[in-house]
Symmetry: C3
Protein backbone atom coordinates (compact mmCIF):
# COMPACT_ATOMS: atom_id res chain seq x y z
CA UNK A 1 0.00 0.00 0.00
CA UNK A 2 2.77 2.41 1.03
CA UNK A 3 4.53 1.78 -2.28
CA UNK A 4 1.49 3.11 -4.10
CA UNK A 5 0.89 6.18 -1.94
CA UNK A 6 1.59 9.63 -3.34
CA UNK A 7 4.84 11.32 -2.39
CA UNK A 8 5.60 14.98 -3.10
CA UNK A 9 9.12 16.37 -3.06
CA UNK A 10 8.39 20.01 -2.23
CA UNK A 11 11.94 21.31 -2.00
CA UNK A 12 15.55 20.42 -2.65
CA UNK A 13 18.12 22.49 -0.72
CA UNK A 14 20.42 22.85 -3.74
CA UNK A 15 17.55 24.29 -5.85
CA UNK A 16 15.90 26.52 -3.25
CA UNK A 17 17.87 29.65 -4.00
CA UNK A 18 17.19 29.43 -7.76
CA UNK A 19 13.48 28.84 -7.32
CA UNK A 20 13.14 31.62 -4.75
CA UNK A 21 14.69 34.08 -7.21
CA UNK A 22 11.71 33.53 -9.51
CA UNK A 23 9.10 33.12 -6.76
CA UNK A 24 8.48 29.55 -7.88
CA UNK A 25 6.68 27.28 -5.41
CA UNK A 26 5.54 24.34 -7.51
CA UNK A 27 6.49 20.80 -6.48
CA UNK A 28 9.88 19.50 -7.56
CA UNK A 29 8.44 16.07 -8.32
CA UNK A 30 5.50 13.85 -7.45
CA UNK A 31 5.53 10.05 -7.28
CA UNK A 32 2.37 8.01 -7.39
CA UNK A 33 1.80 4.38 -8.43
CA UNK A 34 5.55 4.14 -9.14
CA UNK A 35 5.31 6.88 -11.77
CA UNK A 36 7.32 10.06 -11.19
CA UNK A 37 6.51 13.41 -12.81
CA UNK A 38 8.98 16.27 -12.44
CA UNK A 39 8.68 20.02 -12.97
CA UNK A 40 10.56 21.54 -15.91
CA UNK A 41 14.06 22.86 -15.27
CA UNK A 42 16.60 24.84 -17.24
CA UNK A 43 20.35 24.93 -16.50
CA UNK A 44 20.93 26.45 -13.05
CA UNK A 45 24.08 27.57 -11.30
CA UNK A 46 23.48 25.79 -8.01
CA UNK A 47 26.02 27.99 -6.23
CA UNK A 48 24.49 31.36 -7.12
CA UNK A 49 20.88 30.41 -7.82
CA UNK A 50 21.06 32.13 -11.20
CA UNK A 51 20.27 30.71 -14.62
CA UNK A 52 23.60 29.18 -15.59
CA UNK A 53 25.79 30.88 -18.17
CA UNK A 54 26.39 29.35 -21.59
CA UNK A 55 27.76 27.97 -23.80
CA UNK A 56 24.86 25.67 -24.59
CA UNK A 57 26.68 22.41 -23.78
CA UNK A 58 27.61 23.48 -20.24
CA UNK A 59 24.17 24.99 -19.63
CA UNK A 60 22.36 21.87 -20.91
CA UNK A 61 24.54 19.58 -18.79
CA UNK A 62 23.56 21.67 -15.78
CA UNK A 63 19.88 21.17 -16.63
CA UNK A 64 20.43 17.40 -16.69
CA UNK A 65 22.34 17.74 -13.40
CA UNK A 66 19.17 19.14 -11.78
CA UNK A 67 17.23 16.01 -12.69
CA UNK A 68 20.02 13.72 -11.54
CA UNK A 69 19.99 15.56 -8.21
CA UNK A 70 16.21 15.31 -7.92
CA UNK A 71 16.04 11.61 -8.76
CA UNK A 72 18.82 10.98 -6.26
CA UNK A 73 16.59 12.35 -3.48
CA UNK A 74 14.12 9.57 -4.28
CA UNK A 75 16.77 6.86 -4.48
CA UNK A 76 16.48 6.86 -8.25
CA UNK A 77 18.78 7.81 -11.14
CA UNK A 78 18.60 8.79 -14.80
CA UNK A 79 18.24 5.03 -15.46
CA UNK A 80 14.64 5.32 -14.24
CA UNK A 81 13.63 7.93 -16.80
CA UNK A 82 11.14 6.72 -19.40
CA UNK A 83 10.45 9.97 -21.25
CA UNK A 84 12.37 13.19 -21.83
CA UNK A 85 10.75 16.31 -23.27
CA UNK A 86 13.18 18.96 -24.41
CA UNK A 87 12.39 22.52 -25.45
CA UNK A 88 15.26 24.36 -27.14
CA UNK A 89 15.48 28.14 -27.52
CA UNK A 90 17.53 27.62 -30.72
CA UNK A 91 16.40 24.25 -32.03
CA UNK A 92 18.22 24.16 -35.37
CA UNK A 93 21.49 25.37 -33.88
CA UNK A 94 21.49 23.31 -30.68
CA UNK A 95 19.81 20.02 -31.60
CA UNK A 96 23.06 18.24 -32.57
CA UNK A 97 24.73 19.16 -29.26
CA UNK A 98 21.63 18.17 -27.31
CA UNK A 99 21.47 14.84 -29.15
CA UNK A 100 25.13 14.11 -28.30
CA UNK A 101 24.64 15.18 -24.70
CA UNK A 102 21.56 12.94 -24.40
CA UNK A 103 23.60 9.93 -25.51
CA UNK A 104 26.43 10.80 -23.13
CA UNK A 105 24.27 11.36 -20.04
CA UNK A 106 21.84 8.44 -20.37
CA UNK A 107 22.76 4.77 -20.46
CA UNK A 108 21.23 2.46 -23.06
CA UNK A 109 18.57 1.33 -23.43
CA UNK A 110 17.76 5.03 -23.78
CA UNK A 111 14.46 6.64 -22.71
CA UNK A 112 11.88 8.02 -25.13
CA UNK A 113 12.40 11.62 -26.15
CA UNK A 114 10.71 14.52 -27.92
CA UNK A 115 12.54 17.71 -28.84
CA UNK A 116 10.96 20.90 -30.20
CA UNK A 117 11.84 24.58 -30.15
CA UNK A 118 10.15 27.11 -27.89
CA UNK A 119 10.64 30.71 -26.79
CA UNK A 120 11.71 30.07 -23.21
CA UNK A 121 11.05 32.06 -20.05
CA UNK A 122 14.72 31.62 -19.13
CA UNK A 123 17.78 29.79 -20.38
CA UNK A 124 18.53 27.93 -23.61
CA UNK A 125 16.90 24.61 -22.72
CA UNK A 126 13.86 23.56 -20.70
CA UNK A 127 13.81 19.88 -19.76
CA UNK A 128 11.03 17.67 -18.51
CA UNK A 129 11.34 14.02 -17.50
CA UNK A 130 8.90 11.30 -16.54
CA UNK A 131 10.32 8.35 -14.65
CA UNK A 132 9.25 5.00 -13.20
CA UNK A 133 10.52 3.14 -10.17
CA UNK A 134 11.53 0.31 -12.50
CA UNK A 135 14.99 0.80 -14.02
CA UNK A 136 15.33 0.65 -17.80
CA UNK A 137 18.21 -1.76 -17.16
CA UNK A 138 15.65 -4.26 -15.85
CA UNK A 139 13.38 -3.85 -18.87
CA UNK A 140 12.73 -6.46 -21.52
CA UNK A 141 14.03 -5.22 -24.88
CA UNK A 142 11.59 -5.68 -27.76
CA UNK A 143 12.74 -5.21 -31.35
Amino acid sequence: LEARAMKILTSVPELSSSLATFGIENAICIEVDNLIVVSGFTGLDLKTGAISEGPFEKHAHEAVDCFELIFGKLGLSLDHVIKVNCFLANPLQDFPSWNDLFKSRFNPPYPCRTTVGAPLVAGLIELEMMAHRTSRRAARIVT
Copy 2:
Protein backbone atom coordinates in the same frame (compact mmCIF):
# COMPACT_ATOMS: atom_id res chain seq x y z
CA LEU B 1 -11.82 -3.78 -11.14
CA GLU B 2 -14.26 -0.96 -11.90
CA ALA B 3 -11.88 1.49 -10.29
CA ARG B 4 -9.24 0.60 -12.84
CA ALA B 5 -11.46 0.63 -15.94
CA MET B 6 -11.06 3.40 -18.52
CA LYS B 7 -13.54 6.27 -18.44
CA ILE B 8 -13.82 8.88 -21.19
CA LEU B 9 -15.51 12.22 -20.66
CA THR B 10 -16.54 13.01 -24.21
CA SER B 11 -18.41 16.23 -23.62
CA VAL B 12 -19.15 18.88 -21.03
CA PRO B 13 -22.28 20.99 -21.67
CA GLU B 14 -20.55 24.24 -20.66
CA LEU B 15 -17.73 23.63 -23.21
CA SER B 16 -19.77 22.27 -26.11
CA SER B 17 -20.41 25.57 -27.80
CA SER B 18 -16.74 26.57 -27.72
CA LEU B 19 -15.51 23.26 -29.07
CA ALA B 20 -18.16 23.17 -31.80
CA THR B 21 -16.99 26.59 -33.02
CA PHE B 22 -13.62 25.05 -33.88
CA GLY B 23 -14.96 21.65 -34.99
CA ILE B 24 -13.12 19.98 -32.12
CA GLU B 25 -14.22 16.46 -31.17
CA ASN B 26 -11.38 15.11 -29.05
CA ALA B 27 -12.10 13.75 -25.58
CA ILE B 28 -12.28 16.23 -22.72
CA CYS B 29 -10.45 13.84 -20.42
CA ILE B 30 -9.67 10.16 -19.97
CA GLU B 31 -9.19 8.33 -16.68
CA VAL B 32 -7.47 4.99 -16.46
CA ASP B 33 -5.72 3.30 -13.53
CA ASN B 34 -6.54 6.37 -11.42
CA LEU B 35 -4.54 8.61 -13.76
CA ILE B 36 -6.41 11.41 -15.56
CA VAL B 37 -5.18 13.06 -18.77
CA VAL B 38 -6.99 16.14 -20.05
CA SER B 39 -7.02 17.89 -23.42
CA GLY B 40 -5.40 21.31 -23.64
CA PHE B 41 -7.61 24.36 -23.09
CA THR B 42 -7.23 28.09 -23.43
CA GLY B 43 -9.40 30.70 -21.71
CA LEU B 44 -12.99 30.36 -22.96
CA ASP B 45 -16.02 32.55 -22.50
CA LEU B 46 -18.45 29.83 -21.44
CA LYS B 47 -21.45 32.07 -22.21
CA THR B 48 -20.59 32.83 -25.84
CA GLY B 49 -18.35 29.89 -26.75
CA ALA B 50 -15.65 32.31 -27.95
CA ILE B 51 -12.02 32.52 -26.90
CA SER B 52 -12.25 34.80 -23.88
CA GLU B 53 -11.10 38.38 -24.11
CA GLY B 54 -8.02 39.63 -22.27
CA PRO B 55 -6.37 40.98 -20.25
CA PHE B 56 -4.08 38.01 -19.63
CA GLU B 57 -5.03 37.55 -15.96
CA LYS B 58 -8.75 37.22 -16.65
CA HIS B 59 -8.17 35.02 -19.69
CA ALA B 60 -5.75 32.73 -17.79
CA HIS B 61 -8.16 32.42 -14.86
CA GLU B 62 -10.82 31.32 -17.34
CA ALA B 63 -8.48 28.64 -18.67
CA VAL B 64 -8.01 27.31 -15.12
CA ASP B 65 -11.81 27.51 -14.69
CA CYS B 66 -12.20 25.02 -17.56
CA PHE B 67 -10.08 22.46 -15.74
CA GLU B 68 -11.86 23.05 -12.46
CA LEU B 69 -15.16 22.45 -14.27
CA ILE B 70 -13.84 19.28 -15.95
CA PHE B 71 -12.40 17.77 -12.76
CA GLY B 72 -15.66 18.54 -11.00
CA LYS B 73 -17.48 16.25 -13.47
CA LEU B 74 -15.29 13.40 -12.22
CA GLY B 75 -15.76 14.25 -8.56
CA LEU B 76 -12.24 15.68 -8.46
CA SER B 77 -10.74 19.14 -7.97
CA LEU B 78 -7.54 21.06 -8.68
CA ASP B 79 -6.18 19.30 -5.55
CA HIS B 80 -5.86 16.15 -7.64
CA VAL B 81 -3.58 17.71 -10.25
CA ILE B 82 -0.03 16.35 -10.25
CA LYS B 83 1.37 18.13 -13.31
CA VAL B 84 0.57 21.36 -15.14
CA ASN B 85 2.00 22.21 -18.55
CA CYS B 86 1.60 25.81 -19.58
CA PHE B 87 2.27 27.33 -23.00
CA LEU B 88 2.30 31.13 -23.06
CA ALA B 89 1.95 33.24 -26.21
CA ASN B 90 4.06 35.96 -24.55
CA PRO B 91 6.27 34.09 -22.12
CA LEU B 92 8.54 36.89 -20.93
CA GLN B 93 5.67 39.31 -20.46
CA ASP B 94 3.13 36.96 -18.88
CA PHE B 95 5.20 34.54 -16.78
CA PRO B 96 5.05 36.62 -13.57
CA SER B 97 1.24 36.89 -13.76
CA TRP B 98 0.93 33.19 -14.55
CA ASN B 99 3.18 32.32 -11.62
CA ASP B 100 1.07 34.43 -9.25
CA LEU B 101 -2.15 32.99 -10.63
CA PHE B 102 -0.80 29.44 -10.23
CA LYS B 103 -0.11 30.08 -6.53
CA SER B 104 -3.55 31.64 -6.03
CA ARG B 105 -5.55 28.90 -7.79
CA PHE B 106 -3.79 25.80 -6.44
CA ASN B 107 -3.47 24.82 -2.78
CA PRO B 108 -0.15 23.69 -1.35
CA PRO B 109 1.48 21.27 -1.67
CA TYR B 110 1.50 22.53 -5.27
CA PRO B 111 1.60 20.29 -8.35
CA CYS B 112 4.60 20.00 -10.68
CA ARG B 113 4.72 22.52 -13.49
CA THR B 114 6.51 23.35 -16.73
CA THR B 115 6.06 26.67 -18.54
CA VAL B 116 7.39 27.52 -22.00
CA GLY B 117 6.38 29.90 -24.75
CA ALA B 118 4.60 28.81 -27.92
CA PRO B 119 2.83 30.41 -30.87
CA LEU B 120 -0.73 29.36 -30.01
CA VAL B 121 -3.62 28.42 -32.27
CA ALA B 122 -5.86 30.64 -30.14
CA GLY B 123 -5.68 32.68 -26.95
CA LEU B 124 -2.78 33.79 -24.77
CA ILE B 125 -2.36 30.59 -22.76
CA GLU B 126 -2.77 26.88 -23.45
CA LEU B 127 -2.99 24.71 -20.35
CA GLU B 128 -2.61 21.00 -19.87
CA MET B 129 -3.04 19.10 -16.62
CA MET B 130 -2.45 15.53 -15.52
CA ALA B 131 -4.25 14.40 -12.38
CA HIS B 132 -4.55 11.39 -10.10
CA ARG B 133 -7.49 10.16 -8.06
CA THR B 134 -5.33 10.65 -4.95
CA SER B 135 -5.44 14.19 -3.58
CA ARG B 136 -2.16 16.02 -3.03
CA ARG B 137 -3.51 16.84 0.42
CA ALA B 138 -3.24 13.12 1.25
CA ALA B 139 0.34 12.88 -0.02
CA ARG B 140 3.41 12.29 2.06
CA ILE B 141 5.70 15.33 1.87
CA VAL B 142 9.34 14.50 1.23
CA THR B 143 12.06 17.16 1.63
Copy 3:
Protein backbone atom coordinates in the same frame (compact mmCIF):
# COMPACT_ATOMS: atom_id res chain seq x y z
CA LEU C 1 3.62 -9.81 -12.99
CA GLU C 2 4.85 -10.04 -16.58
CA ALA C 3 2.02 -7.75 -17.64
CA ARG C 4 3.40 -5.05 -15.38
CA ALA C 5 7.07 -5.42 -16.34
CA MET C 6 8.75 -2.69 -18.40
CA LYS C 7 9.19 -3.28 -22.11
CA ILE C 8 11.34 -1.07 -24.33
CA LEU C 9 11.01 -1.04 -28.10
CA THR C 10 14.51 0.07 -29.06
CA SER C 11 14.18 -0.11 -32.83
CA VAL C 12 11.71 -0.57 -35.65
CA PRO C 13 13.21 -1.71 -38.97
CA GLU C 14 11.07 0.70 -41.01
CA LEU C 15 12.30 3.69 -38.93
CA SER C 16 15.97 2.75 -38.57
CA SER C 17 17.20 4.53 -41.66
CA SER C 18 15.47 7.80 -40.73
CA LEU C 19 16.73 7.77 -37.15
CA ALA C 20 20.28 6.88 -38.22
CA THR C 21 20.33 9.91 -40.53
CA PHE C 22 19.97 12.14 -37.48
CA GLY C 23 22.08 10.01 -35.11
CA ILE C 24 19.03 9.40 -32.94
CA GLU C 25 19.24 6.48 -30.50
CA ASN C 26 16.39 7.13 -28.06
CA ALA C 27 13.79 4.43 -27.44
CA ILE C 28 10.88 4.21 -29.85
CA CYS C 29 8.46 3.50 -27.02
CA ILE C 30 8.37 2.18 -23.47
CA GLU C 31 5.51 0.26 -21.86
CA VAL C 32 5.16 -0.08 -18.12
CA ASP C 33 2.10 -0.79 -15.98
CA ASN C 34 0.03 -0.89 -19.19
CA LEU C 35 0.95 2.71 -20.00
CA ILE C 36 2.87 3.36 -23.22
CA VAL C 37 4.98 6.48 -23.85
CA VAL C 38 6.36 7.07 -27.34
CA SER C 39 9.10 9.35 -28.66
CA GLY C 40 8.07 12.28 -30.83
CA PHE C 41 7.97 11.78 -34.60
CA THR C 42 7.50 13.98 -37.60
CA GLY C 43 6.40 12.78 -41.07
CA LEU C 44 9.04 10.39 -42.47
CA ASP C 45 9.49 8.88 -45.89
CA LEU C 46 9.99 5.28 -44.79
CA LYS C 47 11.53 4.36 -48.15
CA THR C 48 14.30 6.96 -48.19
CA GLY C 49 14.70 7.72 -44.46
CA ALA C 50 14.28 11.43 -45.15
CA ILE C 51 11.81 13.86 -43.60
CA SER C 52 8.80 13.44 -45.87
CA GLU C 53 7.96 16.11 -48.44
CA GLY C 54 4.85 18.28 -48.13
CA PRO C 55 2.13 19.29 -48.60
CA PHE C 56 1.15 19.38 -44.92
CA GLU C 57 -1.68 16.85 -45.21
CA LYS C 58 0.50 14.14 -46.72
CA HIS C 59 3.35 14.86 -44.33
CA ALA C 60 1.06 14.83 -41.28
CA HIS C 61 -0.55 11.55 -42.37
CA GLU C 62 2.94 10.08 -42.57
CA ALA C 63 3.64 11.21 -39.01
CA VAL C 64 0.48 9.39 -37.85
CA ASP C 65 1.60 6.38 -39.93
CA CYS C 66 4.76 6.15 -37.77
CA PHE C 67 2.69 5.80 -34.62
CA GLU C 68 0.36 3.27 -36.21
CA LEU C 69 3.43 1.24 -37.20
CA ILE C 70 4.92 1.49 -33.70
CA PHE C 71 1.72 0.53 -31.89
CA GLY C 72 1.34 -2.41 -34.28
CA LYS C 73 4.67 -3.80 -33.04
CA LEU C 74 3.13 -4.00 -29.55
CA GLY C 75 -0.13 -5.53 -30.74
CA LEU C 76 -1.86 -2.20 -30.26
CA SER C 77 -3.48 0.36 -32.54
CA LEU C 78 -4.47 4.02 -32.59
CA ASP C 79 -7.55 2.90 -30.58
CA HIS C 80 -5.26 2.57 -27.55
CA VAL C 81 -4.11 6.20 -27.63
CA ILE C 82 -5.31 8.29 -24.69
CA LYS C 83 -3.43 11.53 -25.38
CA VAL C 84 -2.02 13.22 -28.46
CA ASN C 85 0.34 16.20 -28.28
CA CYS C 86 0.82 18.02 -31.54
CA PHE C 87 3.37 20.73 -32.29
CA LEU C 88 2.79 22.57 -35.58
CA ALA C 89 5.42 24.64 -37.38
CA ASN C 90 2.61 26.82 -38.81
CA PRO C 91 -0.18 26.58 -36.25
CA LEU C 92 -2.62 29.12 -37.64
CA GLN C 93 -2.28 27.86 -41.19
CA ASP C 94 -2.29 24.11 -40.50
CA PHE C 95 -4.61 23.66 -37.51
CA PRO C 96 -7.78 23.12 -39.59
CA SER C 97 -6.10 20.39 -41.69
CA TRP C 98 -4.65 18.76 -38.59
CA ASN C 99 -8.06 18.83 -36.90
CA ASP C 100 -9.67 17.15 -39.91
CA LEU C 101 -6.89 14.59 -40.17
CA PHE C 102 -7.22 13.80 -36.45
CA LYS C 103 -10.91 13.02 -36.90
CA SER C 104 -10.22 10.88 -39.97
CA ARG C 105 -7.38 8.82 -38.47
CA PHE C 106 -8.80 8.16 -35.00
CA ASN C 107 -12.04 6.37 -34.22
CA PRO C 108 -14.49 7.78 -31.69
CA PRO C 109 -14.46 8.02 -28.77
CA TYR C 110 -11.45 10.19 -29.62
CA PRO C 111 -8.34 10.56 -27.43
CA CYS C 112 -7.44 13.74 -25.57
CA ARG C 113 -5.36 16.23 -27.51
CA THR C 114 -3.32 19.41 -27.15
CA THR C 115 -2.07 21.40 -30.14
CA VAL C 116 0.35 24.31 -30.02
CA GLY C 117 2.84 25.86 -32.41
CA ALA C 118 6.60 25.37 -32.14
CA PRO C 119 9.72 26.03 -34.20
CA LEU C 120 10.56 22.41 -35.11
CA VAL C 121 13.91 20.73 -35.57
CA ALA C 122 12.55 19.11 -38.74
CA GLY C 123 9.26 18.83 -40.61
CA LEU C 124 5.95 20.66 -40.28
CA ILE C 125 4.50 18.59 -37.43
CA GLU C 126 5.90 16.84 -34.36
CA LEU C 127 3.57 14.31 -32.79
CA GLU C 128 3.61 12.64 -29.41
CA MET C 129 1.17 10.02 -28.16
CA MET C 130 0.55 8.32 -24.85
CA ALA C 131 -1.37 5.05 -24.96
CA HIS C 132 -2.79 2.43 -22.64
CA ARG C 133 -3.23 -1.31 -23.16
CA THR C 134 -6.99 -0.76 -22.68
CA SER C 135 -8.75 0.21 -25.91
CA ARG C 136 -10.87 3.36 -25.92
CA ARG C 137 -13.58 1.19 -27.50
CA ALA C 138 -13.81 -0.68 -24.19
CA ALA C 139 -14.09 2.50 -22.15
CA ARG C 140 -17.11 3.70 -20.27
CA ILE C 141 -18.36 6.96 -21.76
CA VAL C 142 -19.14 9.67 -19.21
CA THR C 143 -21.02 12.81 -20.22
